[in-house]
Symmetry: C2
Subunit: 360 residues, 2 copies
DNA sequence: TCCGTGCACGCAACCGGTTGCAGGCCCTGG
DNA sequence: CCAGGGCCTGCAACCGGTTGCGTGCACGGA
């Protein structure tokens, strides 16, 4: 008895077609290519569809067109405050274009990242991989299957958006040199991180250019605790200024220093990177600012452009950075050491409101 | 001339079938229901498929089975540090089950959340909505189309995971009362937030139970800047203790107080909520701890259970919370007010390391 | 030797849209 | 009045797996 057709949860194109008295093709066109139809027909079909609560089935559409209207975003650690703004920016850009975004968290593991990219490749139009920890060759293999856009990873032939912290780092070193520092430290991040390599190189170059001695301390994972744990090494190293891989590490260092009774910036100057929590530390952190939200947005827009016309092959966007001087940098310690730490905040420097901006 | 078949980018089931000398059905079964096939056949097909680099097309599979192997997670603001750990937990749980997760950021807007849920409904098996700002009726409408699990939103009939901050808040108020505070403030969060309502109610109840006067100050958006902006109101209100909607607001308050030269906890005690940045503030923030990562994980596991057997209708998981006393709470100000702010950190209380834990 | 039984696999319809192609209709120009 | 040309719309194949049903075959029992 096929007389009573059970109406599914959500109606299909056929039911709309029947209700509207047209063919399925017409319903389809009413949604995807309305300019091919008589305006009155479009209106009629849309009305019926609206009444029935019809929504095109994305799987069916994806199957026949290959357009998924989705893309994937892979990050090493969503809990690292560097990434949420980036995710947000990417999200908004994708949204405007009607795309949905998958999120993947590789947990800083290249192996997991590889798995994620492979899994996503089958169900998205393109992938944005931020701060990829993968070997270049592996990234290329994935990029070979699906369009990939990188953020903060510089691989020739793959479209990429780079936050050029080198300029900001250079300004940071100059800032320290100007304040009379002679011996400084770089607390490094993940070894497979392009950003880390870039920053390390920039600081080496800038230090030797300014005649500063440079000590490197490895933090590996860029976490708060990792920053805290580096403090003893830092104090033992006899430096008067520190540049940290990122703000999170810098924040950990600040906390460690506070616990150790070392006053910032009187006894030690600290500079962060990314400006991601910098305004909320105490004292407010001098840092290298990067518009991470823009990086996310750009990456998605670039990806969409690649999807549109595949001749954008070797794009390479560079976002510049600036040094933002807040309150964790001051004159080198030998100068400050004659006085104790009388004034903790705002002492000796006329720079609390109105942030001063250096940089390229 | 149909002799030269262009091999597509990724091979289809037909090509594998041809290469293996079996039917498409057999290839399909080799992947989805191998127990129906002779072991040698399975092995053979898998080998061929592996060599060709075959991957089942998810869109095609989704179309014929209705199983998408995806789910969506919607949050009001990924940049709010409350959510990244939750996202992470959700992500991991989904991953273990072979699901990919869409992320949506509603930007605290009910309208956008509505759009997101609608868009996701068509392409996922289920949805986790965290801290939904939607009207209950609207949520129900969505839940009617697709299984929905809520986090921190209590709607009867819809499976939900709740972080019971009431218990922690109650302990917080008791803690303040014990320290001699008589008049305290609650800095509230988003009005449509269930958590905010829950916290406000808990603090009202606890205050009157302890005989404390309660003042409420509205922060609306739970941001750092919003916290900073509430400081003048707080100082004008004549309270000696403050409970903030969340850690982010509390952090802003701390910063605002520092700028205003008010010492914490000597002149004013501050308590946060969620324990999400609390360990990184200065002084370290006394707060109500919630395992947000577990909430995310639970929500996904619950969703998967709903998908498995749809008889879990009215599940309601409650995660308890605890008060973690760090360094922003101390004796009521009238005691401290006789002396100015001589000792900024660690004065008057023997409680820096070894955190004390109260709670349900 | 013949038939019943069950395993392993193929056939073909189906999921729900999309799109090249063809055909009907109407309008215009000769 | 007829031919030609557009404009709309329908037909039907197709995207790539999945799955109910049926069949061929081997094997065991009578």
């Amino acid at each position: 008895m096929p007389e009573t057709e059970a109406p599914r949860g959500t109606p299909t194109i056929r039911e709309v077609a029947d209700a509207a008295g047209v063919s399925r093709a017409t319903v389809s066109r009413a949604f995807s290519r309305p300019e091919l139809l008589k305006p009155s027909t479009v209106e009629h079909v849309q009305a019926i569809a609206g009444r029935l609560g019809y929504t095109p089935n994305v799987a069916a559409r994806a199957l026949s067109t290959g357009r998924y209207a989705t893309l994937a975003l892979v990050v090493p650690d969503i809990a690292n405050p560097f990434f949420p703004p980036l995710v947000r920016g990417a999200q908004q850009a994708a949204d405007q274009a009607g795309y949905c975004v998958f999120l993947g968290d590789s947990d800083e593991s290249p192996a997991r990242e590889d798995v994620l990219l492979g899994r996503f490749a089958g169900q998205v139009e393109g992938i944005v991989s931020a701060s990829s920890r993968l070997a270049a060759q592996v990234v290329r293999r994935h990029a070979d299957r699906r369009p990939v856009v990188l953020v903060n990873r510089d691989i020739k032939g793959i479209p990429r958006v780079l936050i050029d912290t080198a300029s900001g780092i250079t300004a940071a070193v100059a800032h320290l040199a100007e304040l009379g520092h002679r011996r400084i430290a770089y607390v490094s991040g993940p070894q497979t991180s392009w950003s880390n390599q870039q920053r390390r190189r920039a600081i080496q170059r800038a230090s030797s250019a300014s005649g500063l001695e440079l000590v490197t301390v490895a933090a590996r994972r860029p976490t708060y605790d990792s920053g805290v744990a580096r403090v003893l090494d830092l104090l033992a190293s006899g430096v008067t200024g520190v540049v940290a891989f990122d703000d999170v590490v810098a924040q950990g260092i600040l906390a460690g220093l506070a616990t150790a009774g070392v006053s910032v910036p009187d006894q030690l100057s600290v500079i962060g990177c990314d400006d991601v929590v910098a305004a909320t530390t105490s004292p407010p952190l001098t840092t290298v600012s990067a518009r991470t939200d823009e990086a996310g947005r750009f990456a998605v827009e670039l990806l969409l452009r690649v999807l549109g016309s595949s001749d954008v092959r070797d794009a390479r966007y560079v976002l510049d950075t600036r040094l933002i001087v807040r309150a964790t940098t001051g004159p080198a310690a030998k100068i400050a050491s004659r006085s104790a730490n009388r004034t903790t905040s705002g002492g000796g420097r006329a720079m609390q409101a109105g942030r001063k901006i250096f940089g390229s």
